[in-house]
């Protein structure tokens, strides 16, 4: 009897702890969500376009979105960003996966050196090379109004350095699979595409998502390389322009509406691939 009591009190204590934990997590979650909720409410506010001190709109409307679509170049920025992100997703994934596979499987002179070099280079913040990059691109005429191809090159060019996670994943795939396929008669390329790629789905998806998201939200390079040419802006640069002193009183709710639209494809992509994403991030570490 006494044992039963003891057991009950233990489970009761456990329940209290659990409730406390959930309260804490809910609070954290709300704090996290407030900016986004605020953004959504502002996007649908109809009474004025300036910043206000309250959250809930007095008048709900789609005016901000209509304004965004008809009176601003927002959709052309959107298209620019989309093209850049899409191209980068393809190019960067291909480069990263190839580099990672080569570094994981092949043994060649300078392999260790290259890996260390890329690690060290990756530690320098990207903006250190910004000016040089700008002048090089200008030399080829890929700045200002031609920024879209220029930006694609900038993003894709350095992508091989992000090989680490993919290499970690490939390292967990037994080498004997490669060897068996080579004895079966497959070339290196065939081993990569027919044997390794089908097994590496999580990491492929992870790489594609990363490669899509990075240029989607990039501000620094885009603002430098477009250099004030409005038609070549991406969404981050375009929207940010509305937050400066002269625009903010007339464009704040428009900014919020734009922000909401920007978040849609990323959220959708994330939701759709969430399962693989988690597998990809942890898969490299624990998959036997």
């Amino acid at each position: 009897m006494s044992e039963k009591k003891k057991y009950r009190s233990k489970s009761g204590r456990e329940r209290v702890t659990r409730i406390l934990i959930y309260i804490f997590l809910t609070a954290l979650c709300l704090i996290w969500l407030i900016p986004f909720i605020y953004l959504v409410f502002q996007a649908f506010r109809g009474e004025s376009r300036s910043m206000v001190t309250y959250i809930f709109p007095k008048e709900w409307s789609f005016d901000n979105f209509i304004f965004l679509s008809t009176k601003t170049p927002f959709w052309s920025w959107y298209l620019n960003t989309f093209i850049i992100a899409l191209f980068n997703a393809v190019l960067q994934s291909a480069i990263v996966l190839c580099v990672a596979y080569a570094l994981s499987r092949m043994r060649f002179k300078g392999r260790k050196f290259i890996m260390n070099l890329m690690l060290v280079l990756g530690m320098f913040p990207g903006f250190l090379s910004m000016i040089a990059t700008y002048f090089i691109l200008k030399l080829f005429g890929l700045t200002s109004e031609n920024s879209v191809p220029g930006l694609i090159i900038v993003y894709a060019a350095s992508s091989g350095m992000g090989y680490y996670i993919a290499k970690g994943f490939f390292d967990t795939i037994p080498r004997s699979l490669d060897e068996a396929a080579r004895i079966d008669g497959a070339s290196r390329a065939r081993v990569f595409f027919c044997i390794i790629m089908p097994m590496a789905k999580p990491i492929i998806i992870y790489t594609i998502m990363m490669a899509f998201m990075a240029p989607w939200g990039d501000f620094m390079y885009a603002s430098l390389i477009t250099f004030g040419h409005e038609e070549a802006y991406n969404v981050a640069v375009g929207l940010y322009k509305w937050l400066d002193k002269e625009h903010i009183s007339n464009y704040f709710t428009i900014f919020c509406a734009g922000g909401l639209l920007v978040s849609i494809p990323i959220t959708a992509l994330f939701m759709a691939l969430q399962k693989y994403y988690v597998e990809g991030v942890t898969g490299g570490a624990v998959k036997g």
């Binding site: 004895i183 008669g185 097994m199």
Partner: protein
């Protein structure tokens, strides 16, 4: 179906570490060769060199009539079975077996015929639609074999294929592999660290240590006439017992004295010793566990041993004993002709008087471990070389590199 020849094959890594020294062998057509040795002895490296997965630093490998040194693995007409099976996890069994045929652009109906045929030989016809994840260890092993036999290769290479199976399945697969070898009539080269596998399956066995070939011989010869102390100790469980002994010449007949007991040496050793220019005074006497005779306490030419532990195994009893100088021999006593009472008596004993079955003994050089009765016996690689030889881990290689600098 081909002969395989290795001529002075050696493997040296970039850091100077030599994994295989001067490997020479002529493997006959349809022969079942087993490479055996402790881990790090270079047996897998040798196999991988034959497969073409590892470059050769020196020498020649000949398969059939072709020198294959610089040939790609796929052009060598070999098939390999890996320790972890290496089955492509995203393919079905059918696709895995058919993969190599697809790559060789074999027509579809022929692929189908061959896959079904291979599956029938191995008894996996019902599993063709499954993926490797849905198979047991034994079934996976069969699929790996199926992938190999479907190509009808000249040489079969097997790299410890049974070591991931449980004991019972391993014994079963062992006989099945032997049967398969008979059925296919292909040259088999088989790597294992398990000397029981080697003894039961091989036509000839290659014993390796630290990258050196120690002996290439039939299982029986390996067991009865090991070339040195290492081979003697490696082949056979429980392993051969070694005693320090004095070699004496009794009017032309040699015998050894061990713990004051005289052991007359058999004719084959006598002959070999009489041909030698010089004969050492001290030797190491090697006695297999089954070659002890338990005698009455006061019998002549026996030596005493105390029983430390007994292990009844059913058909035999292993007795761990201890002799006067602290050497602990293991005895293997067959129980099939003993009554239960006799067995109990034996287990209950504290002391034994032992005699050695004279016709079966071997004597070894105390310094380099060579069998004194075998002409041109290979010495056991000395400790220093052995230290380098057991490498293979990165740590060791790094150390070697440092030392060279």
């Amino acid at each position: 179906m081909a002969e395989v020849k290795l001529k002075n094959v050696m493997k040296q890594y970039d850091n100077g570490f030599v994994a295989v020294h001067d490997f020479n062998i002529d493997i006959k057509d349809k022969e079942f060769i087993v490479l055996v040795g402790p881990s790090g002895c270079g047996k897998s490296t040798t196999l991988r060199m034959i497969a073409g997965l590892e470059d050769i630093s020196g020498g020649e490998i000949i398969i059939g009539d072709n020198v294959v040194n610089d040939m790609e693995p796929k052009d060598r007409d070999i098939a390999m079975v890996f320790q972890n099976y290496a089955l492509y996890p995203h393919m079905t069994v059918y696709e895995i077996i058919a993969f190599c045929l697809r790559l060789r652009k074999v027509p579809n109906d022929e692929i189908h015929r061959k896959v079904v045929e291979a599956a029938e030989i191995l008894g996996i016809s019902g599993l063709l639609g499954r993926k490797p994840k849905q198979l047991s260890g034994g079934q996976r092993q069969r699929v790996a074999l199926g992938r190999a036999i479907v190509r009808n290769p000249q040489v079969f290479l097997l790299d410890e294929p049974l070591s991931n199976l449980d004991a019972k399945l391993r014994a079963q697969m062992r006989t099945e592999l032997a049967k398969l070898h008979k059925k296919l009539g292909t040259t088999f080269i088989y790597v294992t660290h398990d000397q029981i596998e080697a003894m039961t399956m091989g036509d000839r066995i290659v014993v390796m240590k630290d990258g050196y070939v120690q002996q290439i011989d039939t299982p029986i010869n390996l067991y009865d006439n090991p070339v040195n102390k290492f081979v003697a100790g490696f082949i056979g469980t429980p392993q051969m017992n070694f005693f320090d002994a004095d070699l004496v010449n009794d009017s032309g007949k040699y015998s050894v004295i061990v713990y004051n007991a005289k052991v007359q040496l058999p004719d084959r050793i006598n002959e070999a010793l009489s041909k030698r220019e010089s004969v050492p005074e001290k030797v190491t006497l090697g006695v297999r566990p089954e070659n002890f005779i338990i005698c009455e306490d006061d019998a002549p030419d026996t030596f005493p041993a105390e029983i430390r532990m007994t292990e009844p195994m059913g058909s035999e009893i292993h007795i761990h004993a201890e002799c006067a100088d602290g050497i602990c021999p293991i005895l293997r006593i067959q129980t099939s002709e003993m009554s239960e009472k006799e067995q109990f008596e034996l287990i209950g004993k504290k002391k034994l008087s032992l005699k050695v079955r004279e016709s079966t003994v071997n004597i070894f050089d105390t310094v380099d471990g060579r069998n004194l009765a075998v002409v041109n016996a290979v010495p056991v690689p000395d400790k220093q070389e052995a230290d380098i030889g057991t490498g293979g881990s990165d740590k060791k290689k790094k150390k070697d590199k440092k030392n060279r600098k």
